[in-house]
């Protein structure tokens, strides 16, 4: 039996100052996900491959709900579809009790197809067509208004309806988050939000049921949530006292961080991100003190996205090649790129080898397979000596990748869900050329049968005719 091979490496020892945190390498091998061997998964479903852990999805959801319910009596989560709208993922959250939060017509239809009743769909976002508004009204969903043009359009729609459509107002406010997301909703501080509320209530055609804000994403401080909860509660109080319109729910949006490490961050996300209990504490505490009677506390709606799904997702892949760059640095080329792992633009994703390795490591830049200079997954990461064919696991990729991925140069890979017993179920097939071409159409003058399109008919001979 031959010995295991590791390619030869020589590393210069530097006498420079030691990293204050010691050598932080990411070299723990990860041979399986929830007990399913990486090797078998890639063998059965191909490489690269997204893998989602149902166990982790449910654990995250239950933990988040518990964090809020133990501090506030009335809590409802709405699954933010754009974070990951693979139907299997949505259904896991709906089974756990989540409503749906959608921001487009097709997301809305997806939620219906996933069995979510109309009244449990929150329709957010700046772009809702008239037909989409009509459909949402007919099915009694809550429309979160984003701007005056939409408000007037909806008033117009409502004029013909027997029942008042239910609406909430998306508010943007100064909670100390910079940059402030003031492009969505109505501004609070300049009176726009109050103006919108006045129109809604004054019209008599819409039922104002909620107030909403979403401060940003991946917020690393709990404080803005306290400020936002206070401002929304004050606004709700004004609705009640000045307009005789009690607000049924306050929606604090999402934005809670996962434990990924933001690019350029000094410390890994696991060390810096507050836990969901800390966010829940600030929000619940603020609302409990806002002056509502215990039996008239508004429902607290949350639209956590990445918090619930990021660490339940893995991307498995394979080393295509290693090479040395002009300046001597090692480069490793993987079979997935930024087209598939979109979040590598924001995160320094943790990546682990699937197989066993010696303690020797080297710094390497990680490239994807695209013939494009931007295709860099990690600028520099310390890894064991990878060689062609070695398999790797990228961690915490569940949020925003399986929706923002691009079919660009390479096709999008399959996605597998590991059920609670660790058994794999394919929930999305790998794309094929056929799938890619399905939507293309050919003008007749470019069809193969059209006159003049045969390669031999014109002046340019095809290769086939010139070869002997």
């Amino acid at each position: 039996m031959k010995q295991r091979y590791e390619r030869p490496l020589i590393k210069k020892l530097s006498a420079g100052p030691l990293n204050k945190f010691g050598a932080r390498t990411e070299t723990q091998p990860v041979p399986d996900i929830d007990g399913a061997p990486v090797k078998d998964l890639l063998g059965e479903f191909g490489s690269p491959l997204f893998v989602l852990s149902e166990r982790q999805l449910r654990r995250n959801y239950q933990q988040a709900v518990r964090a809020f319910r133990t501090r506030y009596p009335r809590v409802q989560f709405a699954w933010s579809y754009k974070t990951n709208y693979l139907n299997a993922v949505c259904r896991v959250f709906h089974q756990e009790g989540a409503w749906a939060e959608v921001v487009s017509g097709f997301e809305y239809e997806k939620a219906l197809l996933n069995g979510v009743p109309g009244p449990q769909i929150i329709f957010n976002g700046p772009s809702k067509s008239r037909a989409e508004l009509e459909r949402a009204c007919a099915l009694d969903s809550v429309i979160h208004l984003d701007h005056f043009d939409e408000l007037y359009e909806l008033l117009d729609v409502a004029a013909t309806l027997p029942r008042r459509p239910r609406v909430a107002v998306r508010v943007n406010l100064d909670a100390g988050v910079y940059p402030q997301w003031d492009r969505f909703g109505f501004n609070l501080e300049n009176g726009q939000a109050w103006n919108a509320i006045g129109r809604i209530v004054g019209s008599g055609r819409l039922e104002l049921v909620g107030l909403h804000c979403h401060l940003g994403t991946y917020l690393l401080s709990t404080k803005p949530y306290g400020v936002a909860a206070q401002k929304l509660a004050d606004l709700a109080w004004s609705c009640r006292t000045q307009l005789n319109t009690p607000i049924q729910y306050l929606d604090l949006g999402g934005g809670f961080p996962s434990t990924n490490t933001l690019k350029g961050a000094y410390l890994p996300g696991t060390d810096t991100a507050p836990g969901i209990d800390e966010f829940a504490e600030v929000i619940a505490d603020t609302l409990q003190r806002a002056g509502f009677r215990q039996d008239e506390l508004p429902l607290l709606v949350l639209e956590a996205g990445r918090l619930l799904v990021d660490d339940a997702g893995y991307l498995l892949g394979t080393v295509l090649a290693t090479k040395r760059l002009a300046d001597g640095r090692r480069a490793t080329i993987l079979d997935f790129g930024v087209n598939v792992l979109f979040t590598s633009f924001w995160y320094d994703h943790k990546i682990s080898p699937a197989g066993d390795f010696s303690q020797h490591t080297e710094d390497t830049v990680l490239y994807g397979p695209l013939c494009m200079n931007i295709d860099v997954l990690r600028e520099s990461v310390n890894l064991p000596l990878l060689s062609r064919g070695d398999q790797v696991v990228v961690h915490k990729v569940g949020a925003y990748n399986m929706t923002q991925w691009m079919q660009f140069i390479t096709l999008r890979p399959a996605v597998v869900l590991l059920d609670e017993q660790g058994r794999p179920h394919r929930i999305r097939q790998a794309e094929t050329l056929d799938y890619l071409q399905q939507l293309e159409e050919m003008p007749t003058h470019l069809s193969p049968s059209a006159p003049g399109t045969s390669p031999t008919a014109g002046g340019r001979p095809s290769q086939a005719t010139t070869r002997p």
């Binding site: 010995q3 091979y5 590791e6 390619r7 030869p8 490496l9 020589i10 210069k12 010696s358």
Partner: protein, 79 residues
């Protein structure tokens, strides 16, 4: 291909170049190759030996060998 004469190598993978004061660590395979080079074995000889001993394809070894030579040259360890 020859290592510089005065380069000190240990069995644990420690390399010292007294001319420059630089020191290096080598992993097991690099250490083994350096020892063989010191015994004046030819590259072809060493490669055959390694192919018999390790679970590696000839192409892979060839590529990694060239890379090792480049590393040795970069670090000025070759004559």
């Amino acid at each position: 291909m020859k290592l510089k004469k005065n380069i000190a190598t240990s069995e644990t993978g420690f390399i010292f170049n007294p001319a420059t004061g630089d020191s290096f660590t080598a992993n097991a395979l690099a250490t083994e190759i350096l020892q063989l080079l010191k015994q004046d074995r030819s590259p072809a000889d060493i490669k055959t030996l390694l192919l018999n001993r390790y679970d590696v394809e000839p192409n892979q070894l060839e590529k990694d060998w060239d890379d090792l030579v480049a590393q040795l040259r970069d670090h000025q360890l070759l004559d």
